[in-house]
């Protein structure tokens, strides 16, 4: 009995000491993971597929989740070092240099896995849009019947203002049997007025409706907010210009144009009387009341 008690004590004490030792070792190696976090992947995607035997699907899932964790950790790290502010319209600040390899690994291991292609189409253009087009072209070659991949590739071309290419990709996607009719309409619109705000709105609307990825939907929501804010800023500038023409001076505060704002159906902030942008943040008067811009606290992306 006494011997058993001694053994139990030995186990408990041993575990406590082991935990303490791990903590000490962790504190001594605090910088090591960060140092190696950006190391390129050692194994080529094709080799990894061969080595994964029958478990290539699981390995693809692993790299997919690692991609998400990688971006998530970068965002958290950026927000920690920039007072909690992250402009999702400018992901280039995150230095996501490992993301293309992670997504490439995931899609090589499982070429029919659509989610990494969609994710890449959303994030990679912020790093290098050639990575995005290359990934999506590989995806289309492996999944020629997935019209969504054509939609994403068209979207990447459209973002690069390459409307002719975008139109051709949408047209190619429209030929797939179960592709929705708006793919053909979008192809025509790209050719006719690719750069217009209405085209952008249409591209985003279809992207939102057809995607099941929350990250894509969030990105689209923000981009639609940006388009709405561009429309609103145009109207606000007209209101401010009319006031300055009528009174031979710029507005000293939003109160001066309160009636005009109400008739233009702007939502007004009760505290500052400023019109609210699509993220419900008040707009800011600049140039001594002659111009307007988004507040620094806005949730609307600038790009």
């Amino acid at each position: 009995m006494k011997k058993n008690a001694l053994l139990v004590v030995q186990i408990v004490v041993g575990l406590v000491v082991a935990v303490a030792l791990v903590r000490v070792m962790d504190s001594r190696q605090a910088n090591a993971p960060a140092q190696f976090a950006e190391d390129p992947l050692y194994v080529k995607a094709a080799t990894a597929k061969r080595m994964s035997l029958a478990f290539n699907g699981l390995a693809a899932d692993w790299y997919w989740m690692r991609s998400l964790q990688y971006v998530g950790a970068k965002i958290v790290g950026f927000e920690d070092s920039h007072e909690g502010r992250m402009d999702f319209g400018n992901l280039a600040d995150l230095d996501l240099r490992l993301l293309p390899s992670l997504l490439r690994m995931s899609t090589t291991l499982d070429p029919q896995f659509i989610a990494p292609y969609e994710y890449g189409a959303t994030i990679l253009p912020e790093i290098n849009s050639d990575y995005a087009t290359s990934l999506l072209e590989t995806g289309i070659a492996a999944n020629p019947n997935q019209w969504r991949l054509y939609q994403h590739l068209g979207y990447v071309y459209w973002q690069r203002n390459e409307y002719q290419e975008a139109s051709e990709v949408y047209a190619a996607g429209a030929k797939i049997p179960d592709a929705p009719p708006w793919m053909a309409a979008l192809s025509a619109r790209m050719k006719a007025e690719g750069g217009s705000r209405d085209s952008a709105r249409e591209v985003y609307r279809h992207l939102y409706d057809s995607s099941s990825d929350r990250a894509v939907k969030d990105m689209v929501t923000k981009q639609v907010m940006r388009l709405d804010s561009l429309d609103q800023i145009e109207v606000l500038r007209k209101i401010l210009a009319a006031y300055s023409e009528k009174n031979a001076r710029c507005a000293s505060s939003w109160l001066d144009v309160r009636n005009e704002l109400r008739s233009a159906r702007f939502q007004i902030d009760a505290m500052t009387n400023a019109p609210l942008d699509p993220s419900d943040t008040p707009y800011r008067l600049t140039e001594k009341g002659c111009n307007v811009e988004l507040s620094q606290y806005t949730g609307v992306p600038r790009k």
Partner: protein, 281 residues
Amino acid sequence: MTDRIKATTPPASTEISTARSAGSRAIIAIARNAFREAVRDRVLYNLVLFVLLLIAGSMFLGELSAGQESKIIVDLGLSAMLLFGAFIAIFVGVGLVYKEIERRTLYAILSKPIGRGQFLLGKYLGLGLTLLINVAIMGVGVSLALTYIHRGWDPLVLKIWPAILLIYFELMLLTGVALLFSSFSSPALSALMTFFVFIIGHFSGDLKSLASSAGNVAARALFRALYYLLPNLTHYSVITPTAHGLAPDASAIGLAAAYTVVYSAVLLAAATLIFGRRNFK
């Protein structure tokens, strides 16, 4: 007198069928015993680990996978099923014969009217039953996890079962390989060699491409021979397409079943041949 002999001696066909049924009974008895032994050895305890893995996966994947939970549960569940099953087939398979020799129970068995081939077949079927139960329970576990994650009926629940059947065929073939090696080698070496066969079997596609790309005629012939003669396990690997909802068709399953039966028969015949020559005096 002649009539009396006729009346008391059973006809030759009856004798053969009696012998056959006695042989079948012996095989079934050995199989049942092998299954009981596996249960006694707590082989099915791996199910607890599997269930814990699935529960953890179902609970945390929603946070990590960005809407790909069902695919990942299928990948995780079926891969774990194959991995756990392969470990059982290898480590239990290589001990099937060795344990009987070690405990000297083999002498008692072989002193009865039981052939060595029947003994091996019984052991093979016994482990096959263990694996069948193991795989079936795991399949139910994956189905429940899918239903839980989908918050209701998920069409993947039906589509995983052909893939589970193919995993079972692969495990049966692997059991045959383990049994063959254990008929002449030590358990450690048998396990190692069976594991190598498992790996090489999944590299069959590479053997084929090596056969077509090798410059040397002899090398080409060697790789081609290896490709056809070694167990080809790539045709059982349908986990990834299944996770995308693409179940193998009936002809693919039928061909895989035929391949398993034929190859297992070859392995058991070879094992019987080697085991029959062993001297246990």
